[in-house]
């Protein structure tokens, strides 16, 4: 019975696909936990840094300008696109790429037309996307494999390079597109301005009030301390972009693979019903053939 065999083959192939998606989900779950751990570990460091910044700013009179905060006329822009290296994680990469593409085509339309926009890719999927769609843009791919070593020192090399490129005037603005991490089921494709840093001002919430109370000794002076602190914060920020994207990727893949497994379950259910119906039909037909044959002999 050809039909029966066909259905059986399909059931087999769906089962093996389901095993793959299930395994991928497990793997992603494990990697996700690790990636999330890294974000959690960074948090106390990040909080303390911002606290120190608030401390200094609240004790600093006048302008708190550093080289990294200078707004210049924007003549040249670098867009950094942080995506994952691998697919099969739903619309995760596509969303980041689309957000970056939108920034390129809407926000920097004029610069894009005159070829004054450059792009840097971290993660292969962003490069694959833009290579096919965009011309007239210089691509930087030297850090595409950054995800293979996510240690802080390694990532800091890249952010240092970006900061140098900004202070020497190579770029007047650096934008980063990445997958902001909320939780396993929620990731937001986000575009953020990495440099120049938005004007630093002492925020008016509790942290600065607490800071004013203490009469700190600052060593060296406040202004130079600020010049140490801001690059550290920028590096930490850039590190966070990568960790966020990393965790988001695995979160997105977990969700995508979970849906795929569920979908396979449904498919299997339908196929099994189909198979049983076909089998029953075949048995009924055989029976009636036998009965018919016997009747013919008797008659």
């Amino acid at each position: 019975m050809a039909n029966l065999k066909e259905v059986r083959e399909r059931i087999k192939s769906v089962i093996s696909t389901q095993q793959i998606t299930k395994a991928m989900k497990m793997v992603s779950a494990a990697k996700f936990r690790k990636a999330q751990q890294a974000i959690v570990q960074l948090r106390p460091y990040a909080n303390k840094l911002s606290e120190m910044l608030a401390n200094i700013l609240s004790n600093l009179e006048g302008d708190a300008g550093t080289d990294y905060g200078k707004e210049r006329e924007v003549n040249k822009v670098l867009i950094v696109v942080v995506t994952s290296n691998r697919g099969l994680c739903g619309a995760f990469n596509t969303n980041i790429n689309k957000a970056a593409l939108h920034t390129l085509e809407a926000k920097y339309a004029d610069l894009y037309e005159s070829g004054k926009v450059e792009m840097m890719f971290i993660g292969k999927k962003g490069y694959d996307f833009f290579r096919k769609r965009v011309s007239n843009v210089k691509f930087h791919t030297e850090h595409i494999d950054l995800f293979s070593d996510l240690s802080f020192d390694n990532v800091a090399k890249v952010s240092q390079q970006l900061m140098d490129a900004f202070t020497t005037g190579e770029y007047d603005k650096i934008e980063v597109g990445y997958g902001m991490f909320k939780n396993a089921a929620m990731q937001f494709p986000t575009m953020e301005t990495f440099l120049p840093v938005p004007k630093v001002e002492a925020d008016q919430d509790g942290s600065s009030e607490k800071a004013i109370k203490a009469d700190y000794i600052f060593e060296p002076d406040k202004q130079s301390l600020l010049e140490y602190l801001v690059p550290s914060i920028l590096k930490m920020q850039f590190h966070k972009y990568l960790l966020d994207t990393h965790a988001s990727e695995h979160g997105a893949r977990m969700t995508a693979m979970d849906k795929a497994t569920e979908n396979a379950d449904e498919l299997l259910k339908d196929l099994r019903i189909k198979y049983n119906k076909a089998r029953q039909e075949a048995i009924t037909r055989e029976l009636s053939e036998i009965v018919g044959g016997a009747a013919a002999l008797e008659g």
């Binding site: 570990q41 106390p44 060593e219 130079s224 550290s232």
Partner: protein, 85 residues
Amino acid sequence: MQVVVLSPEKELYSGEASAVKVPGSGGQFEILNNHAPIVSALSAGEVKIKTEDGNAMVYTINSGFVEVLNNNVSLLVTGVKSTNE
């Protein structure tokens, strides 16, 4: 006094200590109990933490910051190699 050592990757140390020696950008200095509030940048060098039972921990760092407030010492460090004694 309470000491926390934080790197971007993990919390390296948290607990009581009797003295912390740090490589300040203006020269090495030691923080003892009831030190005045201070915020300082750190240059490359060794951070030495003496615990109350006399043990010492040494971390070699690339750069960082230290903040002291009300007997709470927070160290933010990068490029750490720890060598425990």
